[in-house]
């Protein structure tokens, strides 16, 4: 057992657990942040995606001992129903979620992708960015549109604030 201090969605937290526990399990079991899902446990599906210091990673592959002093953002940290992020709103508007089990991971990956660009991405760019997130329901078409819609909205928002 070990004390590990880190940040989750902006808040300082600490846990005392075996350092071999995965970050995903800690988020779900200790903090009740159940938006991140385990689907494969192997880094294949992306449904557990979170941001570690701004970089998107599969939290099923990260051991809690590795993230001392790191800042973690989960889907809940991107937005809740009361304050949805543009990308979340775009997923709802475009119908990009069906069963929704893959959706939190896709939201985190999309947010991280959009943070790094300031143009409306092409289909190919979105495909490269989200290639690590499996979805069995949607056929991805509306996901692609949602990311582009969000990018467009984000640009207009930036323009109006500048």
């Amino acid at each position: 057992m070990k004390d590990i201090h880190f940040k989750v969605n902006g808040k300082n937290v600490s846990v005392n657990c075996a350092p071999t526990k995965t970050l995903l399990d800690v988020l779900r079991d200790e903090f009740d942040l159940t938006g991140s899902k385990e689907c494969c446990g192997k880094g294949e599906c992306g449904s557990c995606t979170v941001l570690l210091d701004g970089v998107s990673v599969c939290s099923c592959l990260v051991l809690i001992g590795q993230i001392h002093d790191v800042s973690v953002i989960t889907v809940e940290g991107i937005g809740l129903t009361s304050n949805m992020d543009v990308v979340q709103q775009a997923f709802v508007d475009e119908g990009a979620t069906q069963c929704g089990y893959c959706t939190p991971g896709l939201i985190v990956s999309s947010r991280s992708f959009l943070d790094g660009i300031n143009h409306v991405p092409t289909d190919d760019e979105v495909k490269t960015a989200l290639g690590g997130n499996l979805c069995r329901c949607t056929g991805y078409t509306k996901i692609m549109k949602a990311v582009q819609t969000a990018a467009r909205k984000q640009l207009t928002m930036e323009e109006t604030t500048n």
């Binding site: 689907c39 979620t97 069963c99 089990y101 690590g132 329901c137 949607t138 991805y140």
Partner: protein, 778 residues
Amino acid sequence: MSKQVEETQAYKDKQNLQWVGKPVKRIDGSEKVTGEQKYKTDYNYPNMVWGKVLRAKYPFAKIKSIDTTKAEAHPDVVCVLTHKDIPGFNGFGIVTPDQPVLCENVVRCTGDAVALVGAETLEAAESALELIEVDYEVLDPVTDAEKAMVQGAPKLHPDGNIHSHVSIRNGDIDKGFEEADYIFENTFYSPRQMHAFIETEGGWGMLKPDGSLMIQCPAQYGHRDKLQIARALALNPERIHVYSSPNGGGFGGKDEITVQIHLALLAHNISGRPVKIHLSREESVLAGIKRHPFKVTVKTGATKDGSLVANKVCAIADTGAYASLGGAVTALAIEHASGPYKIPNVDMEGFCVYTNNGIAGAFRGFGVNQVCTGIETHIDMLAEKTGLDPVEIRKKNAYRQGDVSSLGHVVKSSVGTIETLEKAEQCDLWKNRDLYKSQVSEPWKKRGVAIATSFHGVGMGLGSPDYGAATMELLEDGRFKVGVAIEEIGTGNGTVYAQVAAECLKCSLDHIIVVQGDTTKTLDSGTISASRSTYTGGRAIATAAPNMINLLSETAAEILDVPKSEIELANNKLMVAGDESQFVTYKQICEILLDKRKSTRVEGHFYLPKEKEELRNSGGAPHHLYGYMTHVVMVEVDTLTGQTDVLKVVAIPDAGKVLNPQGLEGQSEGGAVMGIGYTLYEDVLIEDGMHKTKNFTDYIIPTIRETPEIVTIPVESNEETGPFGAKGIAEVVMIPIIPAIMAAIHDATGARINRLPATPERIYHAMQATKKPSLISR
């Protein structure tokens, strides 16, 4: 009187629709995109116990003894359970309960459950599994369905290995082939596709202080699960409460019992503590049901003018160790094996056979995916032979409403095949196919464009109960709580239910709350399968609505002191006809009803229409209703490697009236991509009864990178009996795309594929085989 009639027929009104057919967003969208939606395994309860299942070590073996002493002695183990601990009937299965809850004498596949462990931690549960000693006498597994059928093959079940046999005959098959100018005969093999829902099977079980049992588990028919649990545990089903919505994907894979009975058994042995089981992906691959691999031999006869005159089909389905819905899958396959055509002479039969290859069961498409390839490929071969247009041949042979189908029955419900084919002919991809085909991305790649059409029954067919039921309750805040048991598995049926309810009641959408998949709050309304949930749930709501309108109008009349006949539904209120100043709100009505201690809840019940007579030995054919669909696809094949990409898809469904365009497109796009996976990549490999496929590392489903451009052009045939004219969509969307891709590969390369998935290796070899020997360079 006339008013009453109008009210009960409200679902037929296609004029002035406010919600139905409109681009309404999902009512549960926000919770899904924020991660706030709780799936069953997202709950946490204090003082919990972890449940684990010991699976069989061999695909086929006798159990000589099971010794649990060491496992029980583990300090963190709460209980270890075997077949001896099952109070009721040790079996489950939707149709034939031939699958043991916990095996006693024999194991028949490596997904079989032998023992259960409840422990303080997951790690303890896992190590306890290793401490259970099972003494097996290993038997040779039966791994080939055809060999399993012969006399002398080791019997997996007391009645032998043929679980079911169905056949449909119509006309005179020999005469048909005599009339034929061309005869095509080929054998097609299909893969063991995995549902690959992103949420694996899992959930919670808890015995409540009052002795009732709570099961929280994603599932496709909670009310039926209740009965299966009750049978195994010898419980009163009324004391079992199943919470089965939402699901993180189902596609048929959660229609059968997954972990519910195991949860129930554990819950009964841990003194009221909550127990959780959540399968890892590896365990889900091993124990979960799959799509039946089929071997289908098809012989089709046609005349020079392009008329199909005979079709003979023999299909063998590998159901694995247990029946589940295998018999029904085989029956539906045979019902659909001659396509949506009017072939006068058919002779089709199917066998559902036990082997030691895992377990197969319900999966989107339900057998039609496996058989549509034969007839559609043969039509393309006919087009090639005769020089006739493949679309024209299909139009010529397709039945219309009122025609006699290949099965010999008059099709009374709506049929959109011809319209879907016409739309296909007019679509950009088909019209400009030569141009698109010339735009290859590399000189060594070739493109092909092709078309295919198919259909799929809506509802359960003859011989199975098929009903819908809805409740509608006026709440104190003036909203309506609409209860339909049919679960949310991703399709967005809840949103459609809200639309139908709001439309019938003439209120706004935010006045509707939908409850699904909760046996304590909803009436049994059948399963979420068979493309039935929009049709069935929609009609049930449309049947409940007039009762609610009646209750509202009666009360409003009383309050406003006018005869009931003068009361009119207006937006979110009831008013005196022609006088907007005189109105009452739903809230006021509820207050009055509660004051008078009157119920504010009504019900609506509905039976799906059925055909009068079942075709002998058909296992449930014909259906009353079918959805129809045509796909046009473009592929690009790398001639050096066989690597194939689907680049464009035009999806043209006839699902009747579209109630929610975004939802329909979502089904169409998801179905197309799942169909691409089926045709090109997916197969769970089992050798000698052992799974070679373990996780998404070696089971490849399409990612966003493999996603083509998909355009959906619905054809809205009007189904008289449907809610606002709707039928069903969820399965047909992945069917014609399969033969369409196969035909497009042929169009590109000249190679015919008869074994799916069409992997690069298979396509490469098929391409080589088309070359004249002298041209093959070595």
